[in-house]
Subunit: 170 residues, 2 copies
Amino acid sequence: MSRRPQTEIAVLGALSIEPMTGYALRAAIISTLGHFWSESFGQIYPTLARLEADGDVRKDGRQFAITPAGRERLRNLLGEPIERTPPRNGLLLRLFFGRTLGREACADLLRTAHTEALATLETLAAIRAEVDAEDENPDRPYFLLTLAAGEASARAQAEWATSAIAALRD
Amino acid sequence: MSRRPQTEIAVLGALSIEPMTGYALRAAIISTLGHFWSESFGQIYPTLARLEADGDVRKDGRQFAITPAGRERLRNLLGEPIERTPPRNGLLLRLFFGRTLGREACADLLRTAHTEALATLETLAAIRAEVDAEDENPDRPYFLLTLAAGEASARAQAEWATSAIAALRD
DNA sequence: AGAAACATGTAAAATGTTACATGATTGT
DNA sequence: ACAATCATGTAACATTTTACATGTTTCT
């Protein structure tokens, strides 16, 4: 259940794209990986310190840069089995006990979920426009893959919410 | 970030459907809520002890049963805002850095994800057959809602994986 | 009787977030 | 100069899982 390796993937991965400070690292993780990953300062700085001690990153002034050893380590980490976090969907937990919660409250939850899914789709569309423009970026095909995953999931959520609201009316 | 209320929802919710032992509670959470929720013994027993001290559950022999006060508490908890766990999708984290991981390894990950999504759909189909048969169950409409969410998400994942594998070939 | 499953509980270890302390840099 | 933002780091707190210890019940 150790997430350490996965935190290291996020940190080394971001640094493999360009050197940056720990502060910028967090901003990059929020803005770029935000739809499928998250890290807090409390994880980032200790991880950077460990990676520096191991020679996987080097501190140039305030910027952290990945070293050749770090790239090698990133390659190895990426090949390790995916660690699953236990599922925890608060919306479905509430809907499952919907008889106690009440039909109207359930419909409210579903309308909120629908609105959020549409908002996510808008955000992702904006990101897609940006990424589409980066013609030369060798990472682009992979960025687009993860983007498509977010879009597929948000579309599915929106459609499900719509049909669930309809189902509740009967 | 306190998940305590949500653990209590899972425990009180399960007991609102029928009384059972702590051991059976875990089995019920795994088998019935398993696609969107999880709890371990280390959470379940302390939560039961707390709920019993508060008068929300009563121990009859080894069975725990929800009390009227517990039903009231469950209603209140269900109405509280949903606590989000930070997103953490190890598959997308790896694909995002796919240039370093390599195209073939990415395709492998996607094929595995596709297979898993199909397996989930099969499991859910079996559950749907059971739930469909429970004609008299007043919880059924809500169970079906959460089931549909799982199906929509698994279908979306399967379709995305298929198109992502195709996209990688170019 | 012996094995397997049922049942309870807790301590240790890991994980992770939040809040705070502290200071440097930049823009107005 | 002053405010805002950038930047680093850590300590306290909360959360969770895992592993272990310990029995009971049921089945063969």
